[in-house]
């Protein structure tokens, strides 16, 4: 018989099971009556098995025990369960991760990281607008879930953008904060909303208020001009122009405020105006009183009191506003915002971790690539970057569709990802060909990232992925060009014989290695023949011809005659083909860039390298001519 059991997650991280295994309040009694609880964690999912367990064996008990039905039930309980209705969203956010990582592989500096960051934010916004749509659609049924989620994503976006502002835009302590902060607040927490704004406008017209005494309405007119005439940073061409205008304006506010002193304090309209002017002249107390949140108070202070505040002084202002709004009532989001502004990244990350796992994994990933996590290394015993990514990925493994995404996350962790990957991959039951292929592909990709090319090739060959095998061969070729080291190529020895991996580039690599072996053992004639055959059979990629031709020079100049006339002609033909090719410069560049991976080669270096190679080609031509003469004499 099946017992319907519901498990519910409540506040304070308690998973409740309903009905419970034991009768309420009777657990002590049950414990005395030989019962305990047994558990076993699922081999790889966020799931466990639990059941009532007998502590002693039947034979060890003095009285026979009665066994109840609930003693014999086994329960499967999941945690971190991502429900199916959220699947699409999770996947959408995942895709960003995948695309994003591709960009990161190139490690091309802050500019690209910023692009990546914006990309993430856009996708959060897209997701948010879908959620907000759901909230509106379901306004009758009170869709609490979508609402909560929308709020969480709003927070996530706000923190993400703030991170961007302080680490991409405001990088100097002297940078001014006002513009960025106000933009940030308006974008993430628009207040009043458009609807509220409309109602405010239509509601009252203080200037023409019938009941106002004369001097109040005069003041109102003046104040209206004051508000309209407030200088705004983006309307001014320079900071100093803005500063001057703002000071003038501020002085006018203060004058009006002073002029109003001793006025009709009992009159409601008048006292409203008085309050308004005190806000405009930047009175801290009034601002705190009138603001609905500390974020809003910060904004008002930036507008009316400290418009030119810099990054260096901003944290003090934020602390003041935050402090006067009651630290006890603030949320993890508030604290995270303040920590970020204070530059306390360690605390910021800990708080992000309380907000959302997806968020903390991706924001630390961004911070990591910006090189900002290094300073935190000593603070925490774990590698924060991979800790959060692997923790998040582990929550996805359980899901019937998201496991693939989880493995991709693991694959993106260079330090520990491989071990996670291996463990999880081994445990995932292979139920279809497609699944098997995908797993092999992931493992191969990971191996190739870790320079375990041999194993990667074997994996790729299992699924006939010649494209990736060629890619590995090209990597090895580039590695040779840059280091002159061919020891890497040894890895392919272990896999030769699997004919499916005999792609042309792999074949070239293997034969080119043989050339070097022959050369080393001074079997020059054989080496020379092999070298020429690489050119004549088009085994060598065109971009590699220059290298081969230069390799031929010592053979041409040696004591022993290596190349016959035909072979010499072939070398000359190839040299000519390069020299007259419209892509000649590309071929040179290819060698120069391969020698300098990850760096942009300065122009003067490029020019001198090209000059040097041109010179070597000249040497080759001369050597070919001399060799041709020698060969002709020998042959005839």
């Amino acid at each position: 018989m099946e017992v319907k059991t519901e498990v519910e997650m409540k506040d304070h991280a308690v998973i409740n099971l309903n009905p419970g295994l034991f009768a309420v309040g009777r657990s002590a009694e049950w414990s005395e009556r030989n019962r305990t609880l047994l558990t076993d964690i699922h081999p790889f999912k966020s799931e466990l098995v639990a059941c009532v367990g007998g502590k002693k064996a039947k034979e060890e008990l003095s009285h026979p025990e009665t066994v109840f039905e609930q003693d014999l039930n086994v329960y499967f309980i999941k945690w971190n369960n991502i429900p199916d209705n959220q699947l699409a969203k999770s996947q959408e956010l995942m895709e960003v991760q995948e695309d994003g990582e591709e960009a990161l592989v190139e490690r091309v500096g802050m500019e690209h990281l910023l692009k990546l960051s914006t990309y993430y934010r856009d996708s959060i916004m897209r997701h948010l607008s879908i959620l907000q749509g759901e909230v509106l659609d379901d306004c009758d049924t009170e869709n609490g879930q979508a609402n909560e989620e929308a709020q969480a994503f709003q927070y996530i976006h706000a923190l993400w953008q703030l991170c961007e502002i302080f680490y991409f835009y405001l990088t100097s302590p002297q940078d001014q904060v006002q513009d960025h902060y106000i933009d940030w607040l308006n974008k993430n927490f628009p207040s009043p909303s458009t609807m509220e704004g409309q109602s405010i406008i239509s509601d009252s017209d203080p200037v023409n208020h019938e009941d106002s005494p004369l001097d109040a309405s005069e003041s109102a007119e003046e104040i209206k001009n004051l508000v309209v005439g407030m200088p705004l940073r983006h309307e001014e061409t320079s900071i100093s122009a803005y500063n001057t205008k703002w000071r003038d304006w501020h002085n006018r506010c203060r004058m009006i405020y002073r002029a109003m002193e001793g006025g009709e304090e009992n009159d409601e309209a008048w006292s409203h105006l008085h309050k308004l002017v005190s806000l405009l002249q930047g009175d801290e107390e009034s601002i705190m009183e009138s603001s609905q949140s500390w974020q809003e108070a910060v904004c008002a202070m930036l507008l009316y009191s400290q418009p030119t505040i810099t990054v260096a002084n901003f944290p003090d202002l934020v602390e003041t506003c935050f402090g006067s709004f009651g630290v006890e009532e603030s949320s993890a989001f508030d604290h995270a915002t303040v920590s970020l502004i204070n530059g306390n990244l360690g605390k910021f990350i800990i708080l992000c971790n309380q907000i959302d796992w997806w968020f903390v994994a991706h924001i630390t990933n961004l911070l990591y690539h910006m090189g900002l996590l290094e300073e935190l290394d000593s603070m925490f015993p774990v590698d924060m970057h991979e800790y959060f990514i692997t923790s998040y990925a582990e929550t996805l493994v359980s899901h019937s569709s998201l496991w693939r995404v989880a493995l991709d996350y693991f694959a993106n962790c260079p330090k520990s990802g491989h071990e996670f990957l291996e463990q999880y991959v081994l445990h995932i039951p292979l139920t279809s060909d497609r699944k098997t292929k995908k797993l092999i592909n992931i493992m191969a990709k990971q191996k190739s990232n870790r320079d375990q090319y041999g194993a990667a090739i074997i994996n790729y060959s299992k699924i006939n992925d010649t494209r990736n095998i060629s890619q590995i061969a090209n990597n090895l070729i580039s590695a040779y060009i840059s280091t002159g080291d061919l020891s890497y190529v040894k890895v392919i020895d272990s896999v030769i014989g699997l004919n499916s991996l005999y792609t042309s580039s792999m074949k070239f690599l293997s034969q080119y290695r043989d050339f070097h072996e022959l050369y080393k053992s001074q079997r020059f004639v054989e080496a020379g023949k092999l070298l020429v055959s690489l050119l004549t059979t088009h085994t060598a990629p065109r971009k590699f011809w220059i290298t081969i031709l230069i390799d031929a020079i010592p053979l041409l100049e040696g004591d022993e005659l290596v190349f016959d006339t035909f072979e010499t002609y072939e070398l000359m033909r190839c040299a000519e083909e390069i020299a007259t090719s419209p892509r000649k410069r590309d071929y040179f560049m290819c060698l120069i860039n391969a020698g300098q991976p990850s760096k942009t080669v300065p122009n003067d270096v490029i020019e001198s390298s090209i000059a040097e190679m041109e010179q070597q080609m000249q040497v080759l031509n001369m050597a070919c001519v001399r060799n041709l003469a020698r060969a002709t004499i020998v042959q005839y």
């Binding site: 519901e6 997650m9 991280a13 002590a28 098995v49 060890e60 066994v67 086994v74 796992w357 463990q423």
Partner: protein, 346 residues
């Protein structure tokens, strides 16, 4: 939060329930002397094979071998015997080995990490631990560790075969890793002891004594060590405490002891179980709770969640209607609570 349950149809109390390597099958051991094997999938749980009833007394534990050795299940019993079962398509489950060298109840069994080959460790009330190995010659050999815990062995567990910190360097595929062959046992002498294989002496030698509990040690469990430069070991006891023992790769002879909680658990702690990556520990206790623990960023152990009988009080039939899954909430709640005091959100 999805959960499913089913009736095992055992006649007496259950002593163990273990999932296989893929989480597709569940074996339960009972005081009714039988073992039952169930197929588990997303929709249903079904008992497809016959009841395994070769034991003559209560079955204490079952242990699934790594699938590379076939579908193999070991069981140990109050009858003093260890049975090794193999399932084949033709004959179903059959006993392929009966191990009866123990002179008392066999309380705990554990298969070694698969890298070490098919080796089963068995702990008995006779105070001894036996190691049962299926050799390359195709025969079973056994070896005894005498007087391991003279008052009785309650639990055995194997250390991960790959030493901590061995493969943390990317691209380190050159030198073969020396595998670790070590196990831990917990006993009625209130101790946990580690045993390391000695190639010279061709036997297990005691390599450490873990003192810290004040009553019988009930369960011991080495954690898998993915991506960490240290080794974790959990022990739980009738003294109602759980201890976490940590050993750094840099100082391999020193276990550092940490209490999982300062206040003891409300009742005897019966089982400790690690997740695949070793970063989550499940503790089950006689007070009817399973709690999940995770080491936080500062190196302290914090409770991730617990599940208990409270649901019966707080939610009636309608309560279950509101228990809709909330992804954001769940991830907040189950995130490792890594906050400092200042990070408190309440």
């Amino acid at each position: 939060m999805a959960s499913k349950s089913f009736d095992t149809l055992h006649d007496e109390m259950i002593h163990d329930a273990q999932m296989d390597y893929y989480g597709k099958r569940l074996a339960t051991a009972s005081s009714d002397s039988t073992i039952r094997v169930f197929d588990v999938d997303a929709e249903s749980i079904s008992q497809t094979s016959k009841v395994l009833s070769e034991h003559k007394g209560p079955v204490w534990q079952v242990s699934w071998a790594h699938p590379k050795f076939g579908t193999i299940l070991a069981s140990c019993s109050y009858d003093g015997r260890v049975l090794i079962w193999k399932e084949t398509a033709e004959t179903g489950w059959t006993v392929i080995k009966e191990h009866k060298k123990h002179k008392g109840s066999v309380n705990s069994i554990a298969w070694a990490p698969h890298e070490l080959g098919p080796i089963l460790a068995c702990g008995s009330s006779d105070g001894r631990i036996s190691l049962l190995t299926f050799t390359e010659e195709g025969v079973w050999e056994d070896q005894m560790i005498d007087e391991a815990h003279p008052a009785g062995v309650n639990s055995v567990s194997w250390a991960p075969a790959v030493p901590a910190g061995a493969i943390t360097k990317p691209g380190s595929n050159s030198a073969p890793i020396t595998l670790v062959k070590e196990l831990v046992s917990g006993g009625c002498d209130m101790l946990a002891k580690t045993w390391l294989w000695s190639n010279e002496k061709n036997r297990f030698e005691q390599s450490g004594t873990l003192e810290g509990h004040s009553d019988w040690v009930r369960d011991v469990a080495y954690a898998p060590n993915i991506g960490l430069p240290r080794m974790y070991l959990a022990t739980c006891s009738q003294d109602r405490t759980v201890l976490i023992w940590i050993k750094d790769a840099s100082s391999p002879d020193q276990w550092k002891k940490t209490k999982l909680t300062e206040t003891p658990f409300p009742d005897v702690v019966w089982r400790v179980s690690w997740s695949l990556s070793g970063n989550l520990l499940a503790v089950s206790c006689g007070d009817n709770k399973v709690t999940l623990w995770k080491e936080n960023l500062q190196g302290n152990w914090e409770q991730v969640s617990e599940y208990n009988e409270k649901g019966a009080v707080t939610t009636g039939p309608s309560g279950s209607q509101t228990s809709g899954p909330k992804q954001i909430n769940n991830s907040v709640n189950s995130a490792p609570p890594a906050g400092t005091a200042a990070a408190s959100t309440s």
